[in-house]
Point group: C2
Chain length 187, copies 2
DNA sequence: CCTGTTACTTGCCAAATGGCAATTCTAGCA
DNA sequence: TGCTAGAATTGCCATTTGGCAAGTAACAGG
């Protein structure tokens, strides 16, 4: 759990003892490429830290899958809607590539929040950062062409080279054919 | 500050004594229609609760203003990028309509976080909710046409009736003429 | 009431994107 | 090696959106 330790320490100043208590609440889980961390209909009860690999979150619209978000290693991730509401999620979380995920139950998380005020601060900062990321996503729709969004996205992770085109296309808000044509122009 | 009290109580269970201490750190400020709460180049150091009215946040792209987000009464709001980084903001926050805003300095906020762990929880929940809102915004770009986004947006607040068309257009990620044409079709 | 400014609409045409289907490419597997 | 299913590309055409400029409407100030 070195990656997670470092990540936490980059956000808050915490003693090793407290850190160990916190880390002991995480469980390691390996998700093979293309397999699922969460499937639609399930109730999401955990937060996830991506130790290695990458995940995509998508949902079914009509008969198509819409990729809503992509997350890569060293990030926290979950489907917050279901987690907060306790309702079954509409989303599926799938591994882009075999990934190691550290999971922590939301009840444990709440418990740690109470136990360590510093951890509550950590949680707050995580969501502030997540918020900033998503806001940038919105801005990209308001100010960039699909082509610019594509180029920007590809810089995020070289994992994306191996993601099927149609998954990327729906993430960019365009169709597979359009993305294919865009890509031809770029070359 | 009744609106704020109610808002806080809807999020956390807090004693009236603690609540009073917290409320005493907020300052009321009235922003006339079209005037600015924050202007680009300033360093944002406060969080804002909109007691009444509505605000828009925009930035200059080339010679145009891009409306990045709209916020209405009973919501917390700030430009988090500048607030967290301490760098001058690229954004301007303007009153759509004369608004009463309760401001709290980020240092005071941090202090309260330390003093009341419950308040830290409040802060976390605010950002979780903000995150959810913005994620829904992203989804609307991935799954809805500009027309659907327009109709959805108009349901948010009747304040929007009075917002100039071009501000709405940039928020939707389209041009003013396109929105004008859309609107004609809808009628 | 006039005037100037700003907001909004519209026409024209170009560019971007979508929808659909046929074709080509690719990678895994018998 | 050859087959096959899924992925990606491409062609054709319709629709949406953009860019620009001209025209119209709304509104505030003198």
């Amino acid at each position: 759990m070195i990656a997670l330790s470092q990540f936490i320490k980059s956000q808050i100043t915490i003693s090793n003892e407290d850190l160990d208590v916190i880390l002991s609440n995480f469980q390691e889980r390996t998700i093979e490429k293309d397999r699922f961390l969460v499937q639609k209909g399930q109730i999401v009860t955990s937060y996830y830290f991506i130790q290695s690999g990458g995940l995509r979150i998508y949902f079914d619209k009509d008969d198509k899958q819409i990729t809503g978000w992509l997350a890569f290693q060293n990030n926290f991730f979950t489907e917050l809607n279901s987690l907060k509401s306790g309702q079954p999620t509409l989303f599926t979380i799938q591994a882009i590539e075999t990934s190691i995920v550290l999971t922590i139950d939301k009840n444990k998380m709440e418990q740690l929040y109470q136990q360590f005020p510093l951890w509550q601060q950590f949680g707050r900062q995580i969501w502030e950062n997540a918020f900033l990321n998503v806001v940038n996503g919105i801005l990209s729709y308001q100010t960039m062409t699909a082509e610019e969004r594509y180029l920007t996205m590809m810089k995020q992770s070289d994992l994306l080279q191996r993601v099927p085109l149609k998954q990327l296309a729906s993430y960019l808000g365009i169709t597979q054919s359009s993305l294919s044509r865009l890509r031809k122009n770029i070359k």
